[in-house]
């Protein structure tokens, strides 16, 4: 029952999204209090009985919608839309940053792999070397 009740509360909370947070919390707390009072009076009540007395999450959502002013509802929908846009913008920025960094890395890697140092020996340098032979070997 406890698990089912927790699931019920979770679903109800989700369904009350159209209310401002403060109001949503107040409605939710009131529901919790009254369900507790009901369960004290009816300790053997099933989750179905709780739903019959207090409403299914979908029913609560429907009732809440009809009690919510159009202005408030519009405000909440607008707020949600802005949040969604913000989240998408952050994801897009992150992906773009990853893409740029990856491109830089590929270019850098390409330069590193395909570049080679050229040793040019000028004619002026030709002739007999009279220094230490081990230096040539090292070179």
């Amino acid at each position: 029952m406890t698990r089912e009740l927790k699931k019920y509360y979770r679903t109800v909370r989700k369904k009350l999204f159209m209310f401002p947070r403060k109001k949503r919390n107040a409605i939710f707390e009131e529901l919790q209090r009254d369900v507790s009072a009901y369960l004290e009076e009816n300790p053997k009540a099933t989750i179905q009985e709780v739903k019959d007395v207090f409403g299914t999450p979908a029913g609560i959502a429907e009732s809440s919608l009809t009690s919510c002013s159009a202005e408030n509802l519009e405000k909440q929908v607008r707020l949600r839309r802005r949040m969604l846009i913000l989240i998408l913008a952050v994801i897009a920025a992150f992906l773009l940053a990853v893409l740029i960094l990856q491109t830089i890395f590929i270019i850098d890697h390409h330069i590193f792999v395909h570049s080679h140092a050229e040793v040019v020996v000028s004619p002026a340098m030709s002739g007999t070397y009279e220094g230490d032979p081990s230096a040539i070997a090292t070179y």
């Binding site: 009131e30 209090r33 009901y38 007395v53 207090f54 029913g59 609560i60 009809t66 009690s67």
Partner: protein, 116 residues
């Protein structure tokens, strides 16, 4: 089996009517509607809470939080009707009676028309 009321204006009317007799909390209102209707009517909590909030917002009822229980962790919200709420209740009752009468007239006149 009780008939569950979803009609907002009827719930508002019943809740305000009960609050006229003294302050109550939401679950009390639900229980009283059931008991006074001989369990013919029921209001679900999920339907009632948003309506009570709307009534509070409009100034038709006021709410008061009371701490209950020994540990003082639990609270209960009591609602009380305001003078504006009483006016609103009168208008709701008048509208409801008008609608009821209108429906009765439609049934009666409809049957008379059928017979004629």
């Amino acid at each position: 089996m009780a008939h569950i009321i979803y009609d907002k204006s009827i719930i508002e009317m019943l809740a305000l009517f009960l609050l006229q007799k003294g302050e109550l909390y939401a679950y009390d209102i639900m229980r009283k509607i059931g008991a006074l209707s001989g369990n013919a009517l029921a209001v679900q909590g999920g339907t009632l809470y948003p309506i009570l909030y709307k009534l509070t917002e409009k100034g038709f009822v006021t709410d008061r939080v009371e701490v209950i229980g020994r540990r003082g962790r639990m609270t209960r919200v009591y609602y009380r009707i305001t003078p504006e709420g009483e006016d609103y209740l009168r208008s709701l009752i008048a509208t409801h009676r008008l609608v009821q009468q209108g429906i009765a007239d439609v049934f009666q006149n409809g049957e008379t028309e059928d017979r004629a």
